[in-house]
């Protein structure tokens, strides 16, 4: 299952972990971007998102046992990103991480001002949700997980997923409408 050809990427690390390094490259190319976006919806500053996703890659790939199950790697990565985002938020609340870099303005030229407004509004609204609500909504709708998969990833019951989801949607609706009004 890890029968991958010697990677074309740089072999500068020169460790004995040849195959898993190639797997690392593959996994990175396949999933890094989507995981970064997942983190961006759970967090609010870009540098922390990168830190969180990179740390998730490091943790999952440092545990060889996990790397030996490539079909589960993405699930491990997602779960680690969610957990790290949570602990990062908690740490920031404690004030230990200071002055997070703000997310750079990603508005492109062709994008209308209304779109940017709506997008920022969504992010602000997501930030206003309870942490669990935000996690459920992001996993359910951004990652396209089923409710059962969300329950498994977050380690909560299916009923809780449904409850967090519906309350989260309602709260989001209120916030978005308030933003428009």
């Amino acid at each position: 299952m890890t029968a991958v050809a010697p990677g074309p990427a740089d072999s500068g690390a020169g460790t004995s972990a040849g195959t898993s390094e190639d797997l690392l490259t593959e996994t990175y190319q396949a999933h890094y971007r989507s995981l970064l976006r997942l983190a961006a919806l759970l967090l609010d500053d870009l540098s922390t998102c990168e830190d969180v996703v990179q740390e998730a890659f490091i943790r999952v790939h440092a545990a060889r046992r996990r790397v030996r199950e490539p079909e589960k790697t993405l699930a491990y990565l997602r779960q680690t990103v969610v957990n790290l985002s949570r602990s990062t938020l908690r740490r920031r609340i404690l004030g230990l991480r200071l002055l997070p870099k703000p997310m750079p303005d990603m508005a492109s030229a062709e994008e209308g001002a209304y779109d940017a407004l709506e997008r920022d509004q969504l992010k602000a609204a997501l930030r206003g949700l309870q942490r669990r609500q935000r996690e459920v909504l992001v996993l359910r709708y951004f990652v396209d997980m089923t409710e059962a998969q969300v329950a498994e990833t977050l380690g909560i019951s299916l009923g809780s997923v449904k409850a967090y989801g519906s309350r989260g949607l309602a709260a989001l609706r209120v916030q978005m409408e308030a933003g428009h009004g």
């Binding site: 690390a13 440092a62 699930a75 709708y141 998969q149 990833t153």
Partner: protein, 426 residues
């Protein structure tokens, strides 16, 4: 926790474009849910990864693996050291002599005069950054001196790789490079080094501590315990002063319990220093029971101590070896550099082979130092990122014995340190 159903959804390179994928999760969504899905995807659609990300991960993974292994190795070494030290407790005569776990780290400072930065990639820094403060870590720095007498080959091969010169600038380059949430403290982040030395108790034991403050404007993570090394001595030979990690059961009973010390170092994360927060490394000087030896007095005992601890020695060496051999000496190099600079370090000027490690060993040089009573030893603390040292402390009357040091502990408040530890005694 994972399930295979999820695989196909984002299995391919297209995982970066969730919007294009069919998935079980999005069937049957209401209009509002579909709108939210669309909004979320648009909100982050233009987010592009940092191109350096893969490189950082690639570098950090082997290092993390080594740290995980090192934690286990350190735990094993600690267990072995305790197993050896505990029986010694029943025999008070040997308490000060065998020194328990201290011996393998003897001459941590002088043993590591070779500095082979850059000869083996990033690996040498592993030993320095490995989070375990126990004997595993000190075994790394001290092992060249311990086994040198009996089995010169590993030590010699280690030291051969580097000339005696110091290149301290290389060490901080790894700071923050391992992709963790809070960057490692670089050497320039740390300052306001201070030391405090109490007065000797009835047994000649002296307690003191170093404090170091994060003087930067950002929080940073301490990459390791740093070093406490003997950088100079008057009236005695630096080779008579051993530096060891404080462990349960060692004679420096006035120091904080090592378990509590290591608990502050959360697994793999290092001590987190907010701006203006500081940490503290306690040390305790325990003179050899034989006093200042003329020659034969303390020699057999310290030899025996090393003999006893031949077990932990190789374990510590293994801990360093899994960080690619030279890691041991590189880890301690920050301490060695100022030592060589400040004292002219006789061992450092010798050939870079096993010579330097053999020379200061008490077994190798039974009669180098005169037994002058008015001896003092100077300790220096170098934080984990490397040279230069932040503070020195002078131990009056120190002639032959062991300095036990603790792992860094957070100072309770960013205010001035108190002298509580200096007042305590064993």
């Amino acid at each position: 926790m994972a399930d295979d159903r999820r695989g196909p959804e984002h299995g391919g390179p297209g995982g970066s474009r969730p919007g294009r994928e069919g998935g079980g999760g999005k069937d049957g969504l209401s209009g509002e849910e579909l709108l939210l899905r669309e909004l979320m995807q648009r909100a982050v659609a233009e987010l592009q990864p940092d191109p350096a990300g893969l490189h950082r991960i690639r570098r950090a993974v082997p290092r993390r693996r080594a740290a995980v292994r090192g934690a286990w190795t350190g735990a094993a070494a600690l267990a072995l050291a305790v197993a050896i030290a505990l029986p010694a407790l029943h025999d008070p005569e040997h308490l000060g002599l065998s020194g328990g776990p201290g011996s393998p780290t003897a001459h941590g400072g002088t043993a590591s005069t070779a500095d082979d930065d850059g000869t083996s990639g990033t690996d040498p820094h592993d030993a320095e950054q490995s989070p375990h403060p126990g004997p595993g870590a000190t075994g790394g720095s001290g092992s060249p001196s311990g086994p040198a007498g009996s089995s010169p080959s590993p030590g010699a091969s280690t030291l051969n790789t580097g000339p005696g010169s110091s290149a301290p600038a290389v060490v901080p380059s790894t700071a923050g490079g391992d992709g963790t949430l809070v960057p490692l403290c670089s050497r320039t982040d740390l300052g306001q080094g201070a030391s405090r030395v109490g007065s000797a108790d009835g047994d000649g034991r002296i307690y003191g501590y170093f404090t170091v403050v994060n003087t930067s404007a950002h929080a940073c993570r301490l990459g390791g315990p740093g070093s406490v090394a003997v950088i100079g001595a008057t009236g005695t030979d630096t080779g008579r002063i051993r530096v060891a990690d404080h462990t349960t059961g060692d004679p420096a009973t006035g120091l904080p319990a090592p378990a509590a010390a290591s608990a502050t170092d959360t697994a793999g994360q290092g001590l987190l220093l907010a701006p203006r927060a500081g940490y503290r490394v306690d040390f305790g000087w325990v003179p050899d029971a034989a006093g200042c030896p003329a020659g034969s007095g303390a020699r057999p005992s310290s030899t025996a101590g090393q003999g006893n601890l031949a077990g932990p020695g190789p374990v510590g060496t293994a801990g360093a070896a899994q960080a690619a051999g030279p890691g041991g000496s590189a880890g301690a190099a920050p301490a060695a550099a100022p030592s060589a600079a400040a004292t002219g370090a006789p061992p450092a000027s010798a050939s870079p082979t096993a010579g330097p490690t053999g020379a200061p060993s008490p077994t190798a040089t039974p009669s180098t130092g005169p037994s002058t009573p008015a001896a003092t030893a100077t300790l220096a603390h170098t934080p984990a990122p490397g040279s230069p040292s932040v503070a020195t402390a002078v131990l009056p009357g120190a002639c032959a014995g062991t300095v036990y040091r603790t792992a860094p502990q957070l100072l309770p408040a960013p205010s001035a340190p108190t002298a509580s530890a200096a007042a305590s005694e064993g």
